[in-house]
Amino acid sequence: MIFASVGSMLPFDRLVRAVDDWAAANPARPVFVQIGDGAYEPRHAPFARVMPQAEYRQRLRDCTLFVAHVGMGSILQALEDGKQMLMLPRLHALGEHTTDHQLHTAARFRDRPGLLIVDDVGQLQANMTRLLDTPLAAGHAISAEASPSLLAGVARFLDTAAPRRRPDGQ
């Protein structure tokens, strides 16, 4: 089962259309798409606009391939669930996001195990077929917590915001 998602905040019809076209050409392979506010509605795959978080997470856990935009929410949750990812960055020039930060994210995460970032819809469709047949060697699932150093920094900051009073009231 492929689960494809454009996230929850902005439309990304280029990805939805590519996944739908692939689904038309591969009717035996189940696909489900979260399309957000997109104008294009898939005709060859079931879809939802934005699912409640719990349902979204269940779809992610149940899939064998996660196809998505290069959003950090998508990356973080798929890493937490140890899912192989196939991702297409949103482009500012096509009005798909407010900036090109997904290209920058893509550059940072391109070499991470379990994750394949492609540059266009042709590569996306080719790799949907390939990764179903030959899955990526997925990295192991990560914890649901930030790095220890960031957690320590935040905790330190909070201590300065309202220092814990001593038990003797000093």
Binding site: G7, S8, M9, L10, V50, P52, Q53, A54, G71, M72, G73, S74, L76, Q77, L79, T98, T99, H101, Q102, H104, T105, A107, R108, I142, A144, E145, A146, S147, P148, S149, L150, L151, A152, G153, V154, A155, F157, L158, T160, A161, A162, R164, R165
Partner: protein, 151 residues
């Protein structure tokens, strides 16, 4: 008896919210209330107070006054000692209000900002008590601290 320390943890929907959830271990010992944009996110933070503000992306600037009004209502109810946010722009409202109301505030620029700080983060530098970036090169370019990332 010390007053319970109140923290307001706020983030826009999507990745910003996922980043915020990954900070939860650092909130131990605080009375935490959360703010985001979708009602169903309440299920992710059971046993806490959860509020929503209207979605106001940069494609829809007219939504900002509505966000500010709701943020003011939430701040009046919660009177937090501290505010932590992982962005994005609409959450700047809480930093402004926090300044006026004497709350200490922390802006953590998104891990998605891998090459330069977000434009909202640059505003947050002036509004928040402290701002940090999640990539060392980005933090250095902004003269800000790097404490690590949500990953």
């Amino acid at each position: 008896m010390a007053r319970p320390r109140r923290l307001l943890a706020v983030a826009s929907g999507g990745g910003h919210w996922i980043e915020l959830l990954r900070l939860r271990p650092a909130f131990a010992g605080w009375d935490v209330a959360y703010v985001s944009m979708f009602d169903n996110y309440a299920a992710a933070v059971p046993g806490t107070r959860y509020y929503t503000v209207p979605d106001a992306s940069r494609f829809d600037k007219l939504a900002f006054p509505k966000v500010f009004a709701k943020a003011a209502w939430i701040m009046a109810r919660e009177r937090p000692h501290a505010i932590v946010t992982t962005g994005s722009a609409p959450m700047l409202a809480f930093l402004s209000l926090g300044r006026v109301m004497g709350a200490r505030s922390l802006w953590i620029d998104s891990i998605a900002q891998a090459e330069e700080m977000s434009s909202s983060g640059r505003l947050a530098k002036r509004l928040a008590t402290q701002a940090v970036c999640q990539w060392p090169e980005v933090a250095a370019a902004e003269g800000l601290a790097f404490w690590g990332g949500v990953l």
